[in-house]
């Protein structure tokens, strides 16, 4: 299940849910929210991120509110995985529930903007093709991996309940 290659978008510590999903966009749909995602820290991100790219965060990525639009926006923009040394607890759950791979990676700080990456959710291995480096991430427990591979909690439950 080795993922395909994409570019890294690198952000700092404590990227919060108000930055990922600004309050003013919550009344509307996911398109509107996604178009404003992270505008306060990188105004180019939402417009230029490509399907299959990676978001690399610092500590506590996604700290703040329980609004799952924060994870949903990244999914909608086609982000393949979020890689960070630590996550806001609720964001982490929300990401997996949307089928967005969230990898806890102590070495995330070694990744630079634009580096070409691949990530393998099963081994938890992130490869930095630009630098020829491999980083180990905390492996996901089996049933969470199942949720992510199913494409999120809803498709997972759909399968289970049927």
């Amino acid at each position: 299940m080795t993922g395909s290659e994409g570019a890294a978008w690198v952000f700092g510590d404590n990227i919060d849910t108000d930055q990922l999903a600004p309050g003013g966009t919550l009344k509307g749909g996911v398109e509107e929210g996604a178009s404003q995602c992270l505008r306060a820290v990188n105004p180019d991100f939402a417009g230029q991120v490509r399907k299959g790219d990676f978001v690399v965060g610092g500590r506590n990525f996604g700290i703040g509110s329980s609004r799952e639009q924060a994870a949903q926006a990244l999914c909608h923009l086609g982000v393949a995985a979020v890689i960070a040394p630590s996550f806001g607890g609720i964001f982490y759950r929300n990401a997996l529930n949307f089928g967005l791979l969230a990898l806890v990676c102590a070495e995330a700080g070694k990744i630079s903007q634009g580096d070409r990456l691949t990530a393998d959710p099963e081994t938890g291995e992130v490869r930095n093709l630009s630098r020829g480096e491999v980083y180990d991430c905390e492996p996901l427990p089996a049933h969470l991996l199942e949720i992510v591979s199913a494409g999120g909690l809803v498709p997972y439950l759909e399968r289970k309940l049927r």
Binding site: N14, D16, D18, Q19, P22, G23, G24, L26, K27, G28, A40, R59, N60, I63, G64, S65, S66, R67, E68, A71, S86, G88, G89, I90, R93, N94, N97, F98, P141, H143, L144, G152, L153, V154, L157, E158, L161
Partner: protein, 423 residues
């Protein structure tokens, strides 16, 4: 080796004798709380897609607090969907515009020590003040709970935050929270279950304890627990709930904490956190003179009855400064009625406070009272992330109700002790 309070609560819900940090366990959920913003409008489509019904309507509490009262057709629709869903799913415990979820939940007698609960809101850690294991989840996660009555959890490490000594006059739980954010850093607890311990905590009333547990969210804690005691059971009894047993729900003497931080309450000064992070907290005196456009007393964090009392102590017989406005949005109808009966509201309004509807209001920028570009606000809420309370360039300073009231009177940030008689 003994268990911490967090481990005992999780083990009970997992049907196990013990659990240890790092394990991922499946747990039965005793109570699910959600609100208008993260609730039915997002959950109903998921349940429909799954063709599933809620597992137990009696274990669900629904609160409309974020978009109340409606300010436009879109927010009105969100509230209408919430009401319809409550009706269709036989949700008895539906609180429509009578208060903020984290305050209404215990006031409605829904919490009991030993419970395992989830809430569709990050400040669900507030339930920890009652000896419940309670944390926030997103809507999809909540939909999973509603369908199965279960969820999963990685057992967190426990961190003890031990406070001894007595708080000075004009210093309160909110100052403890802000000082902790500065000390540990935003998210500094990194998923741990924090437990507030020590002689000070035992002396605090339930509303102050709720404030402590509430802002465990800003510490990045998975839960913010306080061992229940007589104060807890008396409060819950008065709220008309079943207080259950407090005694089993405390950490064993030989329980293992990943860290214990000790603090002396007596040396704590009133705190103010500068924009745009609660971790930018420092003694109020260091921000003295910062001019304020709006002072806001609101939110689950800072507009409960005890919070309104603190503001009234400063405002009694004084006037809000010219050029500054003071908005007050009480946390619940019950708090507002009690504040009316005991004369607190008269003191607030006498000083020039503008009373706002009960609810989340401007806290997350949804309701009335949001900020214009470049405006400066001092607020008793919990978060001052950029743009949260209105325009991107607006600035929010976080502080206790005492300090917000003091700034309203002075028109600038001050140490609230200047406005309180020594005693």
């Amino acid at each position: 080796m003994g268990l911490t309070l967090a481990e005992k609560l999780i083990a009970r819900a997992a049907g196990r004798d013990e659990v240890r940090p790092g394990e991922t366990v499946t747990v039965r959920v005793d109570l699910a709380m959600m609100h208008d913003s993260s609730g039915p409008r997002r959950i109903a489509p998921i349940l429909e897609r799954l063709g599933a019904k809620v597992w137990d309507p009696e274990r669900i509490v629904l609160v409309s607090d974020h978009w109340v009262p409606a300010v436009d057709a879109q927010s009105a629709e969100i509230l209408a969907i919430t009401r319809r869903w409550a009706r269709e799913n036989n949700i008895e415990a539906f609180y429509d515009m009578v208060g903020i979820c984290h305050v209404v939940l215990p006031q409605g007698g829904h919490l009991r020590p030993g419970m395992f609960a989830v809430g569709g809101d990050s400040h669900s850690t507030t339930g920890g003040a009652f000896g419940c294991y309670m944390f926030g989840v997103g809507s999809t996660d909540m939909a999973g709970v509603l369908v199965t009555g279960e969820t999963w959890l990685k057992v967190p490490e426990s961190i003890a935050l031990d406070w001894s000594g007595k708080l000075q006059r004009g210093v309160c739980a909110k100052d403890i929270n802000l000082a902790l954010c500065a000390h540990l850093g935003l998210g500094g607890a990194e998923y741990a279950a924090v437990e507030f311990t020590g002689s000070l905590i035992a002396e605090l009333g339930m509303e102050e304890r709720m404030t402590l547990s509430n802002m465990a969210a800003e510490l990045g804690a998975q839960a913010g627990l306080i061992a229940p005691d007589e104060t807890t059971t008396e409060w819950l009894e008065a709220a008309g709930g079943n207080p259950g047993e407090a005694a089993p729900w405390r950490s064993d003497k030989d329980a293992e904490y990943s860290a214990t931080h000790e603090f002396d309450a007596g040396s704590l000064e009133p705190q103010v956190a500068a924009p745009h992070s609660p971790a930018n907290a420092a003694p109020a005196s260091s921000y003295k003179g910062v001019a304020i456009d709006q002072a806001y007393i609101g939110a689950c964090t800072g507009a409960k009855l005890a919070d309104l009392h603190m503001a009234a102590q400063v405002l009694d017989g004084r006037q809000v400064a010219r050029g500054t406005r003071l908005l007050v949005a009480p946390a619940s109808r019950r708090d507002m009625m009690q504040a009316d009966t005991d004369g607190t509201l008269a003191k607030l309004m006498g000083a020039g406070a503008i009373m706002m509807p009960i609810g989340c209001g401007a806290c997350a920028g949804f309701g009335g009272g949001v900020l214009a570009e470049d405006e400066v606000c001092i607020s008793s809420t919990s978060r001052n992330f950029q743009g949260r309370m209105g325009a991107q360039s607006s600035k929010v300073y976080l502080a206790s109700p005492y300090a917000v009231a003091a700034a309203a009177v002075a028109g600038e940030i001050r140490d609230p002790r200047e406005f309180l008689a020594k005693g």
